[in-house]
Structures are given as C-alpha cells and as structure tokens.
Symmetry: C2
Subunit: 315 residues, 2 copies
Amino acid sequence: MISSLELARRCGVSQGTVDRALHDRTGINPRTRNRILRLARQQGYRPHPAARELITGQSQIVGAVVPTVNNIFFMDLFHELGSRLAERKLRLQVSPVRDPADFLAVLEDFAARRVRLGLVVPPEDYIQIPGAITGCLPLISLISPCRGKGIHFISADEEKTGREAVRHLYNRGHRHILHLTYERRAYAIMARARGYKRQTRELGLNARITTTLHQKQLISLLKKERITAIFCHNDWLALTVLLSLSKSGIRVPEDVSVLGVDNSPTLMALHPGLTTMAYPVGAVGRAIADILDGGNGQAQEMEYQIMERATVRNL
Amino acid sequence: MISSLELARRCGVSQGTVDRALHDRTGINPRTRNRILRLARQQGYRPHPAARELITGQSQIVGAVVPTVNNIFFMDLFHELGSRLAERKLRLQVSPVRDPADFLAVLEDFAARRVRLGLVVPPEDYIQIPGAITGCLPLISLISPCRGKGIHFISADEEKTGREAVRHLYNRGHRHILHLTYERRAYAIMARARGYKRQTRELGLNARITTTLHQKQLISLLKKERITAIFCHNDWLALTVLLSLSKSGIRVPEDVSVLGVDNSPTLMALHPGLTTMAYPVGAVGRAIADILDGGNGQAQEMEYQIMERATVRNL
DNA sequence: TTGTAGGCGTTATCAC
DNA sequence: GTGATAACGCCTACAA
C-alpha cells in the first residue's frame, strides 16, 4: 500500500501538495488537485490512521464495551448509536467482555489507543475505574453506573419506568400486577422494582415481585395472587413468560397481560405482538452527541415510551 | 500520558534501554531493568499502539464484521473466538453492518488500519471484495462465502447438516418431517435444504419445505401433511415455531417434535429444552488459528453436533 | 500556488 | 550494557 510521500513522487509534486489535495484545503491549483485525487484513487491510496493518531493524539474510534450475556438489546442499541456516530466520521467498535477484569483490560486498551470516547455497559454495577484510565479516556456509562472520576452516566429515570408500567396496567383495569425481574442487585433492576413498589402502594395495590422462571412456581403464584398482568424487567423475560404461559394453556392477553421493556428489535421480530417500553435511543444518542460537543450530556425526555401491542388488554 | 522517551528521561537512561526493559530483551542489567519497570508502572506508562503499528506495519487487532439482523448467534460465536484470540494477544473488535455497502466500507477501514485479520459474516452471499482490499487484508469468511482473491471460507458441511437432521428424526421414528427455513437464497439456507431434500428422498419420505411463519398457515400445513417433526433452519425459527405451536394448543414434543440449529447460548437460555445442532465453534477456532499460523485452514470434524433435549422424542 | 522541515512514539540498527 | 540515530506515514507551520 502506497504512502502519501510515494503518491507525491508519482504525481511529481511534494507531500505537502498531496496533503492539500486530499483534505481539499485552499491554496492549491484545482487542476493539480484533480490530478492528485485521480491518481490517488487509481493507485488505491489509503491514509494510515495510525500516523494521523500519532500526530493528533486522538483516534477517530469510539469504543464500546458490552457484557456478553444477554447482549441482544445492547447490540441493537449500539448499532443504532453507530449510525449516528458515522455522521461524525467516527467508527464504533464493539468489544464483548465477560467480567470486570476483562472490562478493565479493554478500557486500558482503549486508553492506550487514545480512543475518542468509551461507551460502556458495565458487566456489574459500580466497578471502580482507576484514574489512570478516566484521566485520558472520556467515558459514558449506559444502563448501569460506574465509579470513577468524570464518568458520565446516561440513563433513563428507571424508577419512573417502573411507575409508568404500573400506571399503564392500572389504567387498563389491572389490580393484581406481578413484577418479574432478576435477583441481581443491579442499578436498573433495583430502580424499576422501587418504582413498581411505590406506585403499586400509592394506588393501594399489593406489590408482588418474583424472580422465578420456573413454570409451575410461576403459574401457582399467578393463581394464588389472582394476577392479571405481569410487568417484566425486559423483553427477554417477557418472552420466557410467554413461553411458560402458553405451555400451561394460559392465554395472553385473555387471561394474563404481559408487558416487557426495551423494544429490542431482535426479540420483537421473534414475537411482534409483545407490548413493551421502548428505550429512549434517540435521547441517549443526543446526549452522547452533546458530550462529544463538550456539553454535559443533559437531554430532554429521557423516558421509556410504551409501545402498545397485543399482550396487554383492557379488563 | 508519558512517552517512552519521557520515561527514559525520568529514569536517567536512554530510550533504547527503556525499550530493552519493557520487552525484556537481553543485553540489559537486571537492576536497571527492574528500576525502569517499576517507574513505568508508577508513572502509568502505556505504549502507544499507533506508533508500533507505524513501524511494524501491522496492528494487533482482529476485526470482525457481523450483520445487524438476527445477530444473536454471531455475537455468541465471536465472543467465543475472541477468547481464543486473546491467548495470542490479539484483540477482537466487532463492527455491526447492515448492508453490503456498509460491509465494504468497514473492510476498507480494516485494510487502512492494517488489521491483522478480518473475520466476516457477510450480510449477503457472494459479495465481490475488490483486490485493493484482499491484497492487504487476510480475510476469513464465516457462514456465507464472499467473492474475491484469497478469501478463506470456513464452513461446516451444510448439506450434511440437513442430512443429519433428517436422519436423526427418522431414527426416532418420524416419517413426515417438515423443513422450516427462509426465502433468502443464501448459502447455508440452500445447502441445508438440499441436504434435507436428498436425505428425505433417499429414505423414501416426502420433502416438504416451507418459509411461512404465519401461525394458521403453519398449523394447517402440519395437519394436512400429518407432520410429526419440524426441522428449523436455526434456533430463532425454532423458537417462533414453539411460540406458534403452544398458542395453537399443539404440544411439543408430544404432538410435534422441533429441531433447531446453532445451539445459540442466548436463545438456549430463553428456552433450555430446545433440541438443536451445535455449530462447531471449536473446529472453526482451530481453523482460524491454523490460518494465522500460515496454514490453509483445513480442520477436522467441521460438523454440527446434535444436542438432544426435550423438543424431540421417539415416536 | 508549491516545497521543505520538524515532530508524533515506537522499534531497529548501529556504534561505543 | 548502554546510547545515539534513523526510520514508519502523516500533519502543520513556515519558507519560497
């Protein structure tokens, strides 16, 4: 692969002139420029990003880190964000990680590469990120927070998500609403459950939370508590519930309504009728753009939006 | 962040000596080396990969490209492969792409970055990859083939996959086996369907292929053809079928057996009982390692393996 | 409008 | 054992 110097030689001009042509800067004869550009294309010239990075001290890469478990939604999300970054000529590169050690190693690597921005979904809450990393790598944490200096945390108001879910189901007549979630004490899990609890209490309902996926246990719980609606922490859980319910001959939404969260395209394709709450991708994208522009990442309307479909009905 | 030159100054030695210490090469006093290493850690020295790349003309990155649609299995796969590459100090970075244009743009970028190896799952079959890319970027195509010079294609024998699926179901007593697949004329889709057809014919059975996910159509087809087993092109399709069947009150595996392909961890977690055929990740990993070592990527036992679980039964 | 020179942080090759 | 020096490919500033 030829270098800009070699290209200059073949064009019979200096490296500086080639540079002017490639970045169409002023101070160059249009005809020279065209000739250089044509030859560059012809010879398959490609600038070497490493050299540019060395000069500017920054790469045009935005690094993303996602946990390997249950990453469907994250992949969908990052693809969406990647399209937006492309508009700024930034390339998104995703690294899947399985644990905090792995996570920190990847961030170390990002820091070394002078990656422009790290977009991370930490595999655990409150991982401490050392100053050696935060000092030279701007970080935005999504979904779950990290501990460390200057790390932005962009999140929807998750307590509100829980509240809205309950309100939605309440407004449709449901009075016995179950919340199905995970045992893990992660930020969003806790916050949504808190919202669920407070809202049910305010409405004078019983708060009933479970983490069981065991079919028989779940079904007996539904019967015992006369549950008519299940608010699931995410679409993936909602799907396991849908599978369990139909195996047990319980009809959705005739007998029980199901509400998920995420609006994950992949899972939606699997079961298009699932009512869910859409992650505010747009607002998050704007917040990220704002931070890239030196802002503080405040964005409006960072709220999940309910997507009404066939798994929730009026009683 | 300090450079190796700056580190040398602070240690009171030359840059060359620092380099010897960092790469523990011979020709350096052990005490000097220890002093340098200690100070390097203390000062948070991190070598800049861009500079190394500039010198060596190669990066330590393996780039992966996955289509954004239905990428669950690919993400699981690449995470597995990434762990193996880590043993060789290679970092795997994944770029999701949505179409051939996007695909080629990412490969262009990989070529420019002197990425060590491109591991691609093309969004379409037989995309022509220009010589300008293949000339300087070793490529391994997975799942679907590409057109271009010197591109390795690592794939299981997909016709055999179709045959094995039929044989497995036949051995368990099934005589009316449906194949559910996609309309898209992609390599693996066609090859598995071909294997399915040939094997059913050889066994004297009717070959019946459908691409419909429409619940009613599917159910009436099952009844009309007295289907007792469904061989699905992948786990994702198998799951949609499971959902449809249980909604229709058809029991699995009592009334109908279901067989998927991929053994995708994420989907398996969603429905642990699904019988499926496991992609030969190990063999593919070895083939990739072989190519990295200059081999031709031939590997033994590149076959899917049946994972028997609760959705297939003896008749 | 064009050419030249210096430097980014490494690595490799000399000489001491 | 150690230190100087020249690359790698690009960008910026300044000189012509």
